[in-house]
């Protein structure tokens, strides 16, 4: 249990390629895998490592996030001392600038009795053992440890992610950006471990020196000065920074092994629960290779799809390779293929919506798709 660590989740994430799902929310609170929000993974990773004090720093409008996190009870972080806190937009700051936000809330860091920090973003989905990484970090005596994944599909995933150039001792030499030109790449998972003192110092110097919008920029600009080590993560990582990657990661979870690794590990993923009844499958239903939440009523066909809480799928409807957010209604004989329905969408009887695997159709929250 990492009793000396506090968590910092910086949600200064690039939303430019995932606008259609972030109209009403930051990436961190996009519904995912039928039951979760994106941020549940990093928050549960922290809980599972015994971290009880987490600050979430967010610049964009965060209504849905505040609702979701609440008192932090699902992550056992509803505590008198410590607990989870959301720090809101700093006036006039750009969305992907976290340094002012951190600076403005230094008190949170000072006040905590912890002396080390794990900083992450939310959009790298994984079920990871922070204890192991912290152990390696402390052993190495590095200033910063950054976690990365050696990917084989860098040519069509992880677009715009940081890539690390590493020497034989694991020290980070330089940081680039994945433009999907090669298949293999060392993609940074945006997980950083360092001493709290060092972290605070970076924030202050970054402000004083100017020129950096984010704390990682400051660290990467000083790779010669700081000892920054890379830790290779071998498990599954899903990167949610575009509609396309959101869709692909969602399809990944339908593979049993990925599902098992992410969701059925001893390290459980926690989320806010709702008072939904069991899902009711009626006689005409046909379900193949799908992930389904509670509270649904299913009379139709569901194949290779992800169905969130409280969805109704009427007789004769077919939902294929699609992702359905909570409380959608899919009426009789509707056909959906390669579609993402945001919350509270209703599709009228007999409608057909077919998207492309690489360009899934996205229907905005609350829409009624009729004639």
């Amino acid at each position: 249990m990492l009793k000396d660590y506090m968590g910092v989740i910086s949600l200064s994430e690039d939303e430019s390629n995932i606008r259609s799902l972030t109209v009403h929310r930051p990436i961190a609170s996009i519904p995912i895998f039928a039951r979760y929000r994106v941020i549940d993974f990093m928050l549960s990773n922290m809980k599972n490592a015994g971290i009880t004090n987490v600050g979430i720093f967010v610049n964009s409008a965060s209504r849905s996030l505040i609702d979701h996190i609440g008192t932090g009870k699902p992550w056992d972080m509803n505590r008198k001392n410590d607990g989870v806190f959301i720090f809101n937009r700093y006036l006039n700051a750009a969305v992907n600038n976290d340094i002012k936000l951190l600076k403005n809330n230094l008190e949170f860091l000072y006040r905590s009795k912890k002396n080390k920090v794990i900083m992450t973003s939310s959009y790298m989905i994984c079920n990871i053992d922070f204890e192991e990484i912290a152990y390696e970090h402390e052993k190495s005596d590095a200033d910063v440890t950054v976690v990365y994944k050696k990917v084989e599909n860098g040519d069509n995933m992880f677009l715009n992610c940081d890539t690390l150039k590493i020497d034989e001792n694991g020290r980070v030499l330089s940081v680039g950006r994945n433009l999907c030109l090669t298949d293999t790449a060392n993609v940074s998972m945006e997980i950083y471990i360092m001493n709290k003192e060092f972290f605070i110092d970076c924030i202050l110097r970054c402000i004083q020196d100017g020129g950096c919008d984010t704390i990682k920029q400051y660290i990467f600009a000083n790779l010669k000065k700081f000892d920054v080590r890379a830790y290779e993560y071998k498990g599954y990582v899903g990167c949610i920074n575009s509609v396309n990657s959101y869709y692909r990661v969602s399809m990944d979870i339908l593979e049993y092994d990925v599902m098992n690794e992410l969701l059925n590990s001893e390290r459980r993923i926690y989320t806010k629960s709702n008072d939904s009844p069991p899902t009711k499958y009626l006689n005409g239903s046909e379900i193949v290779n799908s992930l389904i939440a509670n509270g649904c009523i299913i009379k139709g066909t569901v194949k290779n799809s992800i169905i969130s809480r409280g969805v109704v799928i009427e007789e004769g409807a077919e939902v294929i390779n699609s992702i359905v957010f909570p409380k959608c209604v899919i009426n009789k004989n509707v056909k959906l293929k390669n579609v993402i329905l945001d919350k509270n969408v209703e599709i009228e009887m007999d409608k057909v919506l077919i998207g492309d695997k690489n360009y899934p159709v996205v229907i905005e929250k609350g829409s009624y798709v009729g004639i």
């Binding site: 039951r35 049993y256 709702n274 069991p278 009711k280 499958y281």
Partner: protein, 381 residues
């Protein structure tokens, strides 16, 4: 302190021994039901949905799971500053410790608790029935009739009436006679064990009954007859809707099959009458490529790779490839391995049914206790 108009008291102390293995280490109201609920959730949710915010739960037999389940009542929005839910196990006082000797005695011993809220009315409920009922409508009826006590009744088939406490009423609903399990029933209005009393009246009768050495301290057998003898105004309130006493293994199984029947009138999906329960974080259900799921209720955490028909599966149940689960109830974290065949069975939590093993013969209901490792074909435990 403001007073409360009505306080509900839920009798949840019974063992329910006819439920056999299901109540060996657990009180009947805390027996799992419907995949993610416990039996008492229905009564507690009825209170919450009826706007009753002060509830005492009388516990006695093996209450640990029940106490843990209810906690401070957050799940039912009953964690209130004044009122809310209070657990009332038997206690020791200066005059010594007293177990609850009967339903009426349980209330008698907690007169102090009820008086604290100084209510006009007290609603007596039992924690082991499956139904959805708006108690505020019953209270309206009680006030309208200017009754001293109102008893909820339900129409039962004439041939079954002799199994119940039967109310014989005037045309306007006033009860002139109560017969406990009559051989020749005069009516078909059976008591549901749900009473509204004017608290001051009830208190008087409870205190008198406590002095009666002959009394069994029971509402049905003692208090109601005495009130009738005393000339009080007792009215029957007719309930129309689904109601089931899940007191036996058979009725417990039937109630689950009712959940699967669109026509039964027990709909768990009603947004205006939600059934609340303590909720857990499990992953969504995973239905595999070769799975078949028909007419079933399944909750989160299940992994289904075989066939599930007419069944109710609780948290974290696994059904392996080519396994079949038919007309059955499977409790949490039980694993049905590949090729196993379950038919008309109730299987407790944490069991393992080994590959290829058959449980049940599709005729009698087979009940398997918790944490069993079933390696051989089983027709009766």
């Amino acid at each position: 302190m403001p007073k409360k108009e009505i306080v509900a008291m839920i009798l949840a102390g019974g063992q329910g021994s006819r439920l056999k293995n299901l109540t060996r280490n657990n009180a009947k109201p805390a027996v799992p039901f419907g995949g993610k609920y416990r039996i008492i959730d229905f009564t507690l949710s009825n209170c919450a949905n009826s706007g009753i915010d002060t509830v005492g739960v009388l516990t006695q037999y093996q209450p640990l799971i029940l106490h843990t389940h209810i906690g401070i009542g957050s799940a039912w929005d009953l964690d209130r500053k004044f009122g809310g839910v209070t657990l009332l196990p038997p206690f020791e006082s200066e005059s010594g410790g007293n177990w609850y000797k009967g339903t009426a005695d349980a209330i008698f011993q907690n007169i102090g608790f009820i008086d604290y809220f100084d209510p006009e009315y007290v609603l007596i409920l039992s924690g082991d029935h499956i139904y959805k009922m708006d108690y505020s409508e019953m209270l309206e009826y009680h006030k309208e009739k200017k009754a001293d006590a109102t008893i909820a009744v339900i129409e039962v088939p004439l041939k079954e009436a002799s199994r119940f406490g039967i109310m014989n009423t005037e045309e306007d609903g006033r009860i002139y006679e109560f017969e406990e399990k009559p051989k020749k029933p005069k009516s078909t209005l059976a008591s549901m064990g749900i009473y509204i009393f004017n608290w001051q009246k009830l208190k008087t009768y409870l205190k008198e009954d406590e002095k009666d050495a002959e009394s069994q301290r029971d509402f049905g057998k003692n208090i109601i007859p005495k009130m009738l003898n005393g000339g009080l105004r007792l009215y029957a309130y007719k309930f129309e809707g689904y109601w089931k006493d899940v007191g036996t293994v058979d009725s417990y199984w039937e109630a689950h099959m009712d959940l699967l029947d669109e026509e039964s009138g027990m709909d768990l999906n009603d947004p205006y009458w939600k059934i609340y329960t303590a909720d857990y974080s499990y992953p969504p259900q995973y239905i595999g490529a070769d799975a078949v799921v028909k007419n079933s209720l399944i909750v989160e955490g299940c992994i289904i790779e075989g066939e599930v028909k007419n069944s109710v599966l609780s948290y974290g149940v696994k059904v392996g490839k080519n396994a079949k689960v038919i007309d059955s109830i499977i409790m949490n974290h039980t694993e049905i391995e590949d090729g196993a065949y379950i038919c008309r069975a109730i299987i407790g939590k944490g069991c393992k049914v080994r590959a290829g093993v058959q449980v049940g013969n599709c005729q009698d209901i087979v009940l398997i206790g918790d944490n069993k490792d079933i390696k051989e074909n089983t027709k009766n435990e």
